[in-house]
Symmetry: D2
Subunit: 410 residues, 4 copies
Amino acid sequence: MSPPTATEDVIVSLKATNLDAITDNGGQILVDLKKGKPKGGRSPLAHLLPPTTLARFEKYGIDVSQGYPEVPPQEKIPTFLDEAFAVRNEGYPYVDRGKNADPEKKALFGAATEVIHLTKHIGTEIVGLQLQALTNQQRDELALLIAERVVVFFRDQDLSPQKQLELGEYYGQVEKHPQAQHLPGHDGITIIWPELFLQLGISSTFKQSKTTARWHTDLTHEHQPAGITHLHNDAIPKVGGDTVWASGYAAFDKLSPALQEFLEGKTAIFKSAHTYFDRNDPLNGKKQVEREHPIIRTHPTTGWKSLFVNRTYTDRIVGLEPGESEVILEYLFGVFEKNLDIQVRFNWKPTKADLGTSALWDNRISQHNAIWDYENSEPRHGTRVTSLGELPFYDSESKSQRQSLGLSLV
Amino acid sequence: MSPPTATEDVIVSLKATNLDAITDNGGQILVDLKKGKPKGGRSPLAHLLPPTTLARFEKYGIDVSQGYPEVPPQEKIPTFLDEAFAVRNEGYPYVDRGKNADPEKKALFGAATEVIHLTKHIGTEIVGLQLQALTNQQRDELALLIAERVVVFFRDQDLSPQKQLELGEYYGQVEKHPQAQHLPGHDGITIIWPELFLQLGISSTFKQSKTTARWHTDLTHEHQPAGITHLHNDAIPKVGGDTVWASGYAAFDKLSPALQEFLEGKTAIFKSAHTYFDRNDPLNGKKQVEREHPIIRTHPTTGWKSLFVNRTYTDRIVGLEPGESEVILEYLFGVFEKNLDIQVRFNWKPTKADLGTSALWDNRISQHNAIWDYENSEPRHGTRVTSLGELPFYDSESKSQRQSLGLSLV
Amino acid sequence: MSPPTATEDVIVSLKATNLDAITDNGGQILVDLKKGKPKGGRSPLAHLLPPTTLARFEKYGIDVSQGYPEVPPQEKIPTFLDEAFAVRNEGYPYVDRGKNADPEKKALFGAATEVIHLTKHIGTEIVGLQLQALTNQQRDELALLIAERVVVFFRDQDLSPQKQLELGEYYGQVEKHPQAQHLPGHDGITIIWPELFLQLGISSTFKQSKTTARWHTDLTHEHQPAGITHLHNDAIPKVGGDTVWASGYAAFDKLSPALQEFLEGKTAIFKSAHTYFDRNDPLNGKKQVEREHPIIRTHPTTGWKSLFVNRTYTDRIVGLEPGESEVILEYLFGVFEKNLDIQVRFNWKPTKADLGTSALWDNRISQHNAIWDYENSEPRHGTRVTSLGELPFYDSESKSQRQSLGLSLV
Amino acid sequence: MSPPTATEDVIVSLKATNLDAITDNGGQILVDLKKGKPKGGRSPLAHLLPPTTLARFEKYGIDVSQGYPEVPPQEKIPTFLDEAFAVRNEGYPYVDRGKNADPEKKALFGAATEVIHLTKHIGTEIVGLQLQALTNQQRDELALLIAERVVVFFRDQDLSPQKQLELGEYYGQVEKHPQAQHLPGHDGITIIWPELFLQLGISSTFKQSKTTARWHTDLTHEHQPAGITHLHNDAIPKVGGDTVWASGYAAFDKLSPALQEFLEGKTAIFKSAHTYFDRNDPLNGKKQVEREHPIIRTHPTTGWKSLFVNRTYTDRIVGLEPGESEVILEYLFGVFEKNLDIQVRFNWKPTKADLGTSALWDNRISQHNAIWDYENSEPRHGTRVTSLGELPFYDSESKSQRQSLGLSLV
């Protein structure tokens, strides 16, 4: 073989690629971009699974004998920015399960042995109910409760992955992340397993966390970002491993009316965690998917306004100079992070060691931060199902949470 | 009476005052500075006390029929800076109760039904023990535990104020705050009662806290600042009212070796919360007491290094230009406030509604922040006893907590 | 003499004071507040005056044989906040001299030998004209030029203080500062003389300036703040002593349209440099006069919008939470301070050593900063006349400078 | 042609490239990386040259008839990080011309008609001398003067590019920048020509500068970074286009002794302006060359300490946590940028319109910022010769400038 003679051919070919390679004009593959991706199939990590997780998988027929977790096949992982952008870029219908639920939630609360509001503005624990046994009426009331309380917890759950997925599907289109390692046979059930990060070479230290121990909201770069995320932890550290959530409703209420008005109607650019090749500029580094969403969004169920920004994925406010955007976003991130009265900190430990704990939170109205103080000294493993929400919108007629609840606005 | 004829006389008299007034050369009281102080005696607020508090007081013979709380008499409240500075300015002996305690704490742990480490670096809850029944051996082990875990919690306590005071006296000289309203007859037992703030006209709002809902360490301006503080809450909101602590040991371990070395041996100026007249400049506004302490201090019991600064009372680093001090202190405050893995958040609710909950924390190695999310919608009341500690020192041979425990230093 | 028996009398008397003292009910002077003030009369510093200044004073009949400068008499210096607030609190007519001037400034420019625009957005030097010989037509054109170019310079001026004052009176009500040391016999001509600061005990160092070497705008706390300030330096360091100005027009044009719109119509609180006793709270420290002005103001002459804030005297934006105000003001201060393309730096040295140099700037549309690099190693002395302007207003129909000049707005 | 069958081959080939391409194992060129580079040769922009520049070129025999400027040939432009790193990575001898010069500079000053120190700490203008006629003795004295005054200016210069280059070679190894467009036939003479940026598609706006209108020091990523840079502007805007320099000596003197001591002996990482492919990771975006230099360096000629960091190219302090490095560097950048008393602002306009102006500054002890207020409305063009300096070092015995000059250190 001889090298291409006409250098212009190469330039052209760099812009005319197929899905997975940089080719020349003749279709010759110059660089096989799939090379950087994991092969699809099963990871050989099943032997590292914690006993409680294995027991749950065995009980509910999740076969890990062929390996664990499952890695998406290469052909489903986007290589180019436009491919990543095309994932779920079309709108899909969103059914608001909580909208018409009983405001008093009698079916849900009546069946519980205890309902504990953990703080005033965010976080409720329900005791004495099994998530997998909820009726649809209870599920609707739970959707409303999550929309009001931002995050709802259930300890001591005997929950099959299949039922977890079913509940997620009831709440909306389940996100199937093209890159995420997931439960074998269930690409809607992703894995939260610090051991996996370690095996992938991503190691945090006491002084610097490399993973989720920073404030963020999940999947905000999507066309219809995450609504309810349900994380069920089936292996939980004996000490530590708390998660903290902060309320976007309450963050909005912390702002002055003048700053609220300034932000209402404005939008921000949200970036993806993953990066992709730019088809027109494949050699200049990978780029993130960017989408534009309102900074103040209205929750469809409660009709309450929420501050929708987060340090990890919100890049800039549209229409401001870079320096202006930077100081205002930094201030807004701080509203979530510094005001302890709009946060809840939850320790996942069940009262019965062989059962798991579930948290269901609404990503439209919250940020969270997973504390990594256990430093991989103890196992932690969870299955996560995310139900995507509506196309974010701002309704200028909507109210703030405190306004709606008749609380003081100063 | 005629006005002074020689204006110089007045100037002189402004510098030659007695304890409580600005006088002229003849001893004539020109301004009675006591006027701004509350009269001593009993406040008429006893009828506002929560039922659980009243029950505790009745059970243990605290008489509030003459009023509650007790206000210090005017003559004990410093008027001038030098008077305030003179309070406990002489060193007093400090007995380190934890120093020789059993490192395994067998007497304490053996008697407990459960010992729960709430996070890795900070916070332990002991279940099944009554603080007022501790033996001295158990008290010593508890002192060691507090020194190691920063803060220790006991729910469901039936604790008399008298026994709380006695425990505090065992741990060191009990702080008697000249301004603080306190339990009638017990000036070593101060009151944490948001209702009292309200009655004094100090009202917080959702957007702006005026009281303790900000990060601080107690009494850092003292010659021998607070060691162990014991807050026993006998009335607790049904929802909210958590307190958050952050560890000064772990904050030190978060710093780079280079910054640790820079701070070791340096000192900072700590300011008092209260203000006083400057005898030499009485008309230019009240001033704060200022004392100088090491920024990195060694805990006498554990021998571990701790970062000793806090946003509320640390004013400046000695030897730096103001702008330098400002950015470095702001960074150090953020180490405590932003690293959720070195914080513990505690909800005070007892499992039995008629009992109280105690927290004992070490102010030498922590900051805390009392969350005011209950917004005075529910009663909260506690009695506090603070045992003062040693004169702060830095021992260049001492180790960090993680170093001592053999944990990774990166 | 015996002390007052009824303490309530004293409390009352602290609120019922005459202009200069805290008295009791019987009119007894308890504290003579005039004591902190300089006595009126002449300072004994004339012998320190630089030779060029002395020569000018001699030529124009300014007699310093009785002392220099003149200190305002005590009875004219406000003691209490309300007295300070009352100074020029009534509106007075403002005549806009530049409004109807020839836009081409033919009379002014035609008489000059050279007109040098020092930078694009700010600063013009006029060569070959004597300020004291200007016709009214030329003065009007100069007013227009200052309004357009923010600051205008004239070197090699042979200018009598009397003529300087007359020009200032032509431009508006001349500010007579109740505290300022001034030219003997002329309380409208204040002194800029670093030697005076030194004699008053205010000493700057290389690392920390105590005086005007920080960004500020003059007299922004007044009801009708400063319009044109005219500083004539008659003694100028051989090296250094530059002054820098930044344009408020250009600062406005640096903002995004969204932030411009946010600020338009909003106001800020401006604080005075001097402090006064609060009549109702005389023992709690002196306080500053505070007045509220638009953040974006329209210049009456040009009709252009200007950003009107400065680090030294602008305290907070009305209607924002404190934290919001702080980050936005800090950003706005930085727009003036960091953008070198909207600044002019001027060295005062005349081409003829025995003549002086004048700068006339418009405080409505600028900040400035007097560089103290000569470190008192050489004399510097100037006479200053400030013509107060209109009540600040914002006209929503007004344009930005670049908009009006047809320059790019991005 | 068929695609490679063994995908592993491609992976291997991505790491085994020749200088300018990504190839497969067989040497097949997969991606021709030269495609992104300008072709060598002459740019067709000569017709845009300003008249004064053309006159100078014609006078001194610079032929632009074949195009202007000259673009380096592709084969000299590094593609890969290791190639860029190899450029001048070997030490070369540095001759310190100023070291033994007459401290009184009698030959230089004696020949000048005037020597103007523009500010106290930085900047001197020499009047009445032609740079191209300097004797070696005068050149040595000039080197010493630059080392002392940081930047020295000469207006009204009739200077041939050849003589400019010769002077640069006298002062050290002349930097030949592999990417820089330069004078035809003289790769040691680079071009400062905003018009060129425009033609390359780099356009600044009033609100955002894309080029050199930010604080920086030249070429700090080199093994032996720039010593004296000599910029001769032969076309100068009628209004604006000033450059500002700040002194690293004085910046060091602004720090507290404690912070000085902290920084002494520490190093920082400096990044290059240009980016290159990582041979081991060619598809993950281009990377910058990084080199490590002392933060406090000693100038070889004066023996004075200088603060050596700049916002544009200093990335991080070695040995600090990222957050620590960020706040301390931001503070240090501000020392240069905010302290107007250690800056000089220079307007380049000659007194004779057909002559040029030269600035010679020392990059070891300064930052600068080229103000773009003329907004391409007028031509600006200059030729630049940079003499590289010694390997940066810190001598713990060296003194600060103010210490050495006997000035106050507070």
